[in-house]
């Protein structure tokens, strides 16, 4: 089989940048992803993951343990030392011998989550057993501590990021932190695409957008609303966090928005109440179900694409190794013995030229049907096969170019 080399202009490497739209809707303790409902199936829920979660492989559709078993992964313990992240090092060493199966489970899911921090800089206290003195130990809100450096770094983009500035001190402000998993947006949230909407009994009472594309979440609506034009928080585009500190009243109507406690006016610090933060109708004071929240943004994904042009030039690629290319019932060998193997040189190629007339065979032409293109590496290892949807007729006097695209 002859090989053809790609020329300098036959290989093109491109990057396709896409901005997938993402929407989360939060209502009554549930999160809905891209308006997908929680469907009932024949056995159980259609999605074995929670509604609002993004399922990594979307396996285990409508499954129920015991009657319709789950797909699950496993690794056999071997010298490479591979394991699942859920198996700790000690467990891996002590509980499994070589050859044992280490199992995991599907679905693997991710969703947004919300943390409500009334005193973000709070730390636990420990007591010196000798002196009886108390001292500060681990932070209560570790995620806030982990983000402090990053917030200060982004302070060069906007003063509103800074942990402590003339605009306020986040150490003591009440913070509403919404975490977005990267599977929802890719490499970053597209600046300028974030929109947070606060609905009270179905009416829009506030909308935040990052209209300056610098991470500031500015209240843009509804027109004339309290706090319009003010910055209620910031977005960390690369890290996937939304941090809200806006504490002005968006409405005078008081509803329950926290676990226990009392009813309060809607504020941005309560935005997203119920997004995997434990706030539900059962735990929040009356009126909680009046609130609903819509969060939308665009992600940013980059797909490397290799485009290859495979040329079948005139006078080339005009023979097939397919056995049916040769007419049927011919002697394939003219001579064979223990020392000689000679093929029949007179074998006839089957005439595949279509005739328009009955009982009339069209004159023979050299032609083949190209059905697939194989791509080899420099060591002639087959690394890919591109199959055409329909075989393409290639006549001897034709030049054909096939465009092969490969997403990497």
């Amino acid at each position: 089989m002859p090989f053809r080399k790609f020329g300098d202009t036959d290989l093109i490497r491109n990057t396709i940048v896409a901005y997938p739209k993402v929407n989360f809707f939060i209502f009554d303790g549930d999160v809905y992803y891209n308006n997908r409902p929680d469907q009932d199936g024949k056995f159980s829920k259609v999605y074995s993951s929670e509604v609002g979660s993004i399922n990594l492989y979307e396996y285990n559709i409508d499954k129920l343990a015991g009657s319709n078993e789950f797909i699950h992964p496993f690794i056999t313990k071997q010298s490479a030392g591979a394991s699942f992240k859920t198996v700790g090092q000690v467990s891996y060493s002590n509980e499994f011998v070589f050859g044992d199966r280490i199992t995991g489970s599907y679905p693997m899911t991710a969703s947004i989550s919300r943390e409500f921090m009334t005193n973000p800089s709070a730390r636990s206290t420990g007591t010196n057993p000798v002196s009886g003195d108390t001292f500060a130990t681990s932070p209560t809100h570790r995620h806030f501590y982990a983000l402090k450096n990053r917030l200060n770094f982004l302070g060069q983009r906007s003063q509103h990021y800074l942990v402590s500035s003339s605009l306020g001190d986040k150490n003591s402000q009440t913070i509403n932190l919404i975490s977005i998993p990267s599977i929802a947006y890719g490499s970053q949230i597209n600046p300028g695409s974030v929109s947070l909407k606060w609905y009270l009994t179905g009416s829009l009472i506030g909308e935040l957008q990052d209209i300056k594309q610098n991470g500031e979440l500015i209240q843009v609506g509804p027109e004339g609303s309290t706090g319009s034009g003010s910055v209620a928080g910031v977005v960390l585009y690369d890290e996937g966090f939304i941090l809200l500190t806006g504490s002005w009243d968006l409405s005078s109507e008081q509803i329950g928005l926290t676990n226990g406690g009392s009813i309060t006016e809607p504020q941005w610090i309560y935005y997203g109440a119920g997004a995997k933060d434990g706030v539900t109708q059962a735990t929040a004071p009356a009126g909680y179900v009046s609130a609903s929240f819509d969060m939308s943004f665009e992600g940013h994904t980059e797909t490397q694409v290799l485009t290859m042009f495979a040329h079948a030039a005139r006078g080339e690629v005009n023979f097939s190794n397919n056995p049916t290319y040769i007419a049927h019932n011919q002697t394939s060998l003219s001579l064979t013995s223990s020392t000689v193997f000679e093929e029949n040189a007179e074998r006839i190629i089957k005439n595949t030229v279509s005739s328009s007339f009955e009982d009339y065979e069209a004159p023979f032409q050299r032609q083949v049907y190209v059905s697939r293109i194989a791509v080899y590496d420099e060591n002639k290892n087959l690394i890919g096969v591109a199959t055409l949807s329909n075989p393409v007729l290639k006549k001897e006097d034709q030049d054909l170019s096939f465009k092969i695209k490969l997403d990497i």
Partner: protein
């Protein structure tokens, strides 16, 4: 931007490894026939195969799990002009046989036939077969050898297909190292039943591991009522293969599948870089927060050892372009009294 780079010694610091990740794929027979009242079964106008999904296929949640079709060789007793879709069934058999087994070299009938053993000698040919073509989504790189099991109901009555003990077709003699053969379509093993002792004549099918295709001889259903009386009278398997379209024969097979399971395999290739940090290296940080007022923040006394905390490892190309970064789960203390070897693993 680092001020110094540590070159890898490619013979000592870089190695490759391969991990096989498997998934257990159980497919309950009621999904294949019954649960969704065939809302998860797609037939096509070309009529050459039938697709089975794990949920009604009009839903975006549905995953394609396998295709079913049937075929017989032109030498089969069932082959004849009177058979429904006769040419298609012959062509399908030959197409599968060409792709999976290749050619004999003879001009008389150059295409190999499926056999109930691994000899490929023209003996014990299975000339009438069902094909189950699994989706790449669930077979991944290949089906794990020795893990395939298909449980079929072979009770004679159509209405109660699973009344008698079921016939389990499994690749019992195949392991990762033995009991398979490599042909044009990749490695394949023989499916044996649990009902008789395994011997040279007891094979009832083939399983092609890389291609993800199971070939099952129609003879496993001998003496079985394959189609219901209401749908054109009681039909045995031969009558179904000759008198029904391919879709009808596929329906008959689905009706007899009790359950099906196998393990798939994904090869994860990894490159491991051992990043060695000598005692006198990387004890200083270029992070702006490392200094306060021109002094190292973590030193109280001038004579103290410098201390740094390693949080990230950058992997650079030969032209010092940053290719990848590896993050530690927690910062690692580094001072002149310790040496570290950090193992960076890159899966692809």
């Amino acid at each position: 931007m680092p001020t110094q780079y540590e070159p890898f010694n490619t013979s000592n610091d870089v190695t490759t490894t391969k991990t096989l990740l498997h998934e257990v794929i159980p497919i309950t027979g009621s999904i294949v026939s019954g649960t969704y009242a065939d809302g998860n079964i797609k037939n096509y106008s070309h009529g050459m195969f039938q697709s089975v999904y794990d949920y009604p296929f009009l839903s975006s949640s549905a995953n394609h799990i396998f295709d079913i079709t049937v075929g017989y060789d032109e030498e089969s007793a069932l082959s004849g002009a009177a058979s429904v879709q006769n040419k298609k069934k012959i062509n399908l058999y030959n197409q599968y046989a060409q792709v999976l087994l290749g050619y004999t070299g003879s001009t008389a009938d150059g295409v190999r036939k499926f056999e109930s053993d691994l000899l490929n000698d023209g003996q014990r040919a299975m000339k009438e077969v069902f094909f189950i073509n699994f989706s790449r989504l669930i077979t991944k790189d290949q089906i794990k050898k020795g893990s395939f099991a298909l449980s079929l109901g072979t009770s004679s009555a159509f209405a109660t297909p699973f009344a008698d003990p079921r016939l389990v077709l499994a690749d019992s003699l195949t392991t990762e190292r033995t009991g398979f053969k490599n042909e044009a379509g990749g490695d394949y093993g023989v499916l044996y039943t649990s009902s008789v002792g395994i011997n040279a004549d007891s094979g009832v099918g083939n399983i092609f591991y890389q291609a993800g295709i199971a070939v099952i001889t129609a003879s496993v259903f001998n003496g079985v009522e394959m189609a219901s009386s209401s749908a054109g009278g009681a039909q045995n398997v031969s009558e179904v293969l000759t008198g029904s379209a391919i879709s009808g024969a596929c329906d008959a097979l689905r009706h007899r599948i009790f359950d099906l399971s196998f393990n798939n395999t994904t090869e994860i290739n990894s490159k491991i870089y051992f990043c060695r940090v000598g005692h006198n290296k990387y004890n200083y940080s270029s992070n702006p927060t490392y200094l306060t007022g021109g002094e190292i923040r973590v030193k109280d006394v001038a004579s103290d050892n410098p201390i740094a905390y390693i949080t990230t490892i950058g992997l650079y190309s030969s032209t010092n372009e940053l290719l990848a970064t590896a993050k530690l789960s927690e910062p690692l203390r580094k001072d002149p009294t310790n040496e570290l070897t950090l193992r960076v693993r890159l899966d692809y």
